[in-house]
Subunit: 252 residues, 6 copies
């Protein structure tokens, strides 16, 4: 088979350039603009007192997440869900995935009856918006936790048991490729999203055949690639979080 | 570790009793009541002429699926989504999963510009409703395809390239168990749904850690169990489909 | 006038075959699958503690009903109301009718501040779905009341003052006919639904001319036929309820 | 039994004062403010070209009706359905009743593919709003038909085959009473609405027991009273329509 | 430029005939039918105990307003917002404008924790519905305040600090004209609504160029005309309010 | 009166620092991040072929606008309108204002039957979001027009007749101040938004008293300040547009 190069020149198992801009917004406790190549997601972690009704009196906190896409984020302008009056199935799915993934690393008891609301708004979409959102949201969450710690609001100073990151992997033209941009994603035979910890254990795995089906050995190769990518993303998260937070509303 | 027996006496890798009642309803082209133990799902495949707007003129057919739960199906009565005025995120997710799974085995070109609408209505829920729904829906789809064939509406007499079945698998109390009933599902540490073909290739895999995370080796063990279960389900589908369809509206 | 026979061979004043399958579902306090010929309605009576807000503190219980139709229940697949995002006028009307009819036989004070939610989901529609629903729902309600009695939750051991049953009657091709199937209903000149007690007193009467109008003497003839039919339905209800309830979730 | 007089001094079989103010609004083809005592309903019949999609190409016209209540019409201000975002079940029921009732007197073929939209907006509610609405709507419809006739838009000059009027009747304190105001309606044991033609044939009959049930002989007495009332209402309609229409937008 | 006369013969700075019919409805504390020429708006001010949640415990009252249009009010019948299931942007805007305008003259502390709900329902539209609504609503509000005063519910006997009235003004065919009817409004180059007090101070000003833009000097001329018109409207309000209120539900 | 300084050290008639970042997003024809101090709005102008149904066949183009706020944009996180299922009144109002304002400078005939959709999404809110949105949207619109011109899609090479900019002005603590940040806006006695052209003619003026009312002379002073601010904003727009557009999807 003649060697097919990826359109952006990357190796099959290489991530796109990743960038975290912390403190992009002034108001939330944690705000991060995350970029996976051309995909840009604004992740904000806001703290509100109280928990949903079904959780009141439990002494436990809560973490919820909402994902959305600006109409102008996509190649063709997409309709605004608020105007359509209903949140679509895809949006629902991704919001639930982000919330579940982040909850797996937080000790909710340490928060007391407070809620962390994580908003992931896609400013520009070029494939992998959900995995970028999870990876960026972890950073925003970590900054929000620092803010709570500084405010003396935590019963345990480190409620985060591990880091969470995510990446997509797929089969494109018969080759297993990491971190698919839109151009590859739209023609992939298999598409998989993996969420894992910095320690390499799994949080969520969602693999889908598009049209064809895939062998179990392909699943194994995809997992190898994804877990290596996630280890690299976790390293980049640590690197970003090692810098001081660049200022926040009402703080020095 | 002392041997923990499953509440219903099954071995860890054993399916619940499975039953397909074909022709439960008179009107749809294919109607099947599928039972996985106490889980009962009514699956109907209805044929309508025409395709959604975005597909018109393509010459291709379409297959869509809707999943829903009767309010009286659950241990505690649940609210009716039509009365709430919106379909919840979980319902959306499962409807999309069923549709994607079934489309992976159908040659939509052979249908012409017709739509098969698959309805999976849960009459009684005891865990694994989505996997029972997919497994039953394949049987209803197969009967609808036979109906189309008899009506001379297919351009290719066998548009189904393989069988599709699904099963849940999870980690409960540290043990990998197949086909979880509600009592196990509600306390599982890991919960995974696998959709595969009768040939053992994968269509969809969705694994979720509930609270904790899971090792890759656990994933492998779960997949072993799930794929064995799916092979058995495919055998039971063939057995059911080998019987004549018990009558249909307007047919002898 | 040459004798027109009914398509299913019945006499003009004859009911279709009626069947009650109690205990069809495991979770509700009362669950009955009722069949009037090809019309099949799953009726469930679920008990929940508490009453709607406007009734709190009254010491009285409440009974509410919801009617719905599976998309696959009709000759042509119908749209799902949850997906459309609104409950249609016809659905609303019938839900209200069922609730009103059943409330007329229950002493709500005997329930304490508990609610009985009656769900009538049409699995297959062949005319007369609302009258079958009422007739079956009475049986489910009766079983739910027995369950409450066994649980010691009733302040009066017999809160049901009478039986409630319902039947349709219409004028088809100039002849007054009882219990119309879809084929007759769709071409009836007059269509009437009658709800009455086993003692023959009226609970609800809804008669509608379709296109033409009808004489008062026709109304009288229709009422004669309907009340005779209801007396027969009440006898069949008693016969069904004379059997032991075939098992319920968490009971022997 | 000591003689109980009605609060407003009427005999049991007497209508409240009835008034029709034609031409209350300038824009619709027919506009009538109808009053049954303290109940005031603004009825408008507007003509629009075209018919609903499902009726296109049939050559037949259509008549549709919508009923609504101003928030300020009731004793206690009621919520606005547009603000709540959904039309309630009661509103739906009454809208459908009005439409069905009026369609029974119109030859829709004579209208060509045009639609008459009848709006009945309750300005003040004091019982019997639906029966006043039907009775007034007939007058507005009649004026709209005259307007169409004058415009040369009718294929048959008299598409109305009869008059339609409606009245409520009930059992209050054991006595059968006609045309119930709110004060009687709210405590009636039986409540019935009858729609009939000027010739005394029935169009619609809806009788409901509130709490108790009622004997067939009571139904007969109620019908006697209602049909006499409707005959009187039809006479008042004719009297009103005998006057010239007091001017209309863009007409002399 | 040859003198262009207004279609209804008015001078450019002349109001249409204005009429207030107080007590049009029996139930609200204040009910006024206001007419600005062919524009007729039914304004009702209803008193309810309690305030919205966000205001509870403040000791302050609240005033809210809702504006709506009957479908039959316009030249072409318009769709009913309750049926469409959402309130349109224009309706929202006007409701908010009316509420803000009236709140500027009320001392909400004097009401205690009570709410005045002002409903402005347009029965007939011929331009200027929002300004007629505000002008009429002030009169209804004033009557509701009198009712509260008579009921001893006010902590300050005169919670209204001034009168509020409103008028439209525009540039039509190059001429500044007051109180535009539909025929002028639909072709105006500039359209402005002014809300002011009887003392001539401004409450709200909303000016919009339609297609073209307008000079600041034009704004000045429009304001001159509008403020003169509002002074006249305030005089007519006083005149109307000087009469006794013509009876109210449950009052002599 | 002792001199009160503004919290950010500005003179009363001074704008906040204004910044336009063109090309912030890759996909829309024009994309600008506009900042008025701490207020950041992402403005995108997307071109789509075709026009709304009511405009088809007219040969004219259309311009529509939607405004929204990210939940994380405000001091306290706000609810997401897509999740609430309805667009609020304030959002509607501002969307309509932006659309009207921009349409006043475009010759829609020059666009042919194409639509420009302008999206203004507030990433961070600190007062004046609607005026920043209009001012930024003009720049995005101008870039979209250049894109259309380069694509040869315009029948007239310069369809923009003037520039459009907007600013807020208010009375705070008795002083007229320009371009209010949230801290001033929330306690302003009068709040006004002015939209005007670079030539100083008016497009829209919306002034609102908050609680008190305001004299006409105050209106004059506010207008002086606003028009001077708009002249400066127009200069900054020209300065920004004088630079080359920094790259766009699929263009050099």
């Amino acid at each position: 088979m003649p060697l097919e190069t990826r359109a952006d020149g990357r190796a099959d198992d290489e991530l796109r350039p990743v960038r975290f801009t912390r403190g992009f917004q002034a108001h939330p406790a944690g705000s991060v603009l995350v970029e996976f190549g051309g995909t840009k997601v604004l992740c904000a972690a806001s703290v509100t007192t109280g928990v949903p009704r079904w959780r009141k009196g439990s002494g436990l906190g809560w973490l919820t997440a909402e994902y959305a896409m600006l109409p102008s984020a996509t190649h063709e302008r997409s309709d605004r869900e608020s105007v359509k009056g209903r949140v679509g199935g895809r949006t629902h799915e991704i919001s639930r995935l982000i919330g579940r993934s982040l909850r797996s690393c937080v000790d909710l008891a340490a928060l007391g009856e407070n809620t962390i609301a994580v908003d992931c708004d896609v400013l520009q979409a070029d494939g992998g918006t959900r995995t970028a959102a999870i990876t960026g949201a972890y950073v925003a969450l970590s900054d929000a936790v620092s803010w709570l710690r500084a405010a003396g609001a935590l019963s345990d100073p480190q409620p985060l048991s591990c880091q969470i990151a995510a990446v997509s992997v797929g089969v494109v033209g018969g080759r297993v490729r990491l971190d698919l941009p839109y151009e590859e994603d739209s023609r992939a035979e298999v598409d998989m999203n993996v969420v894992a910890t910095d320690g390499g254990t799994l949080v969520e795995i969602q693999g889908t055949a598009e049209g064809a089906t895939f062998a179990r050995s392909t699943l194994d190769t995809m997992l190898d690639s994804a877990l290596a990518g996630i280890a690299e993303l976790a390293r980049l998260q640590r690197e970003a979080l090692a810098q001081p937070y660049p200022g926040r509303d009402g703080t020095a």
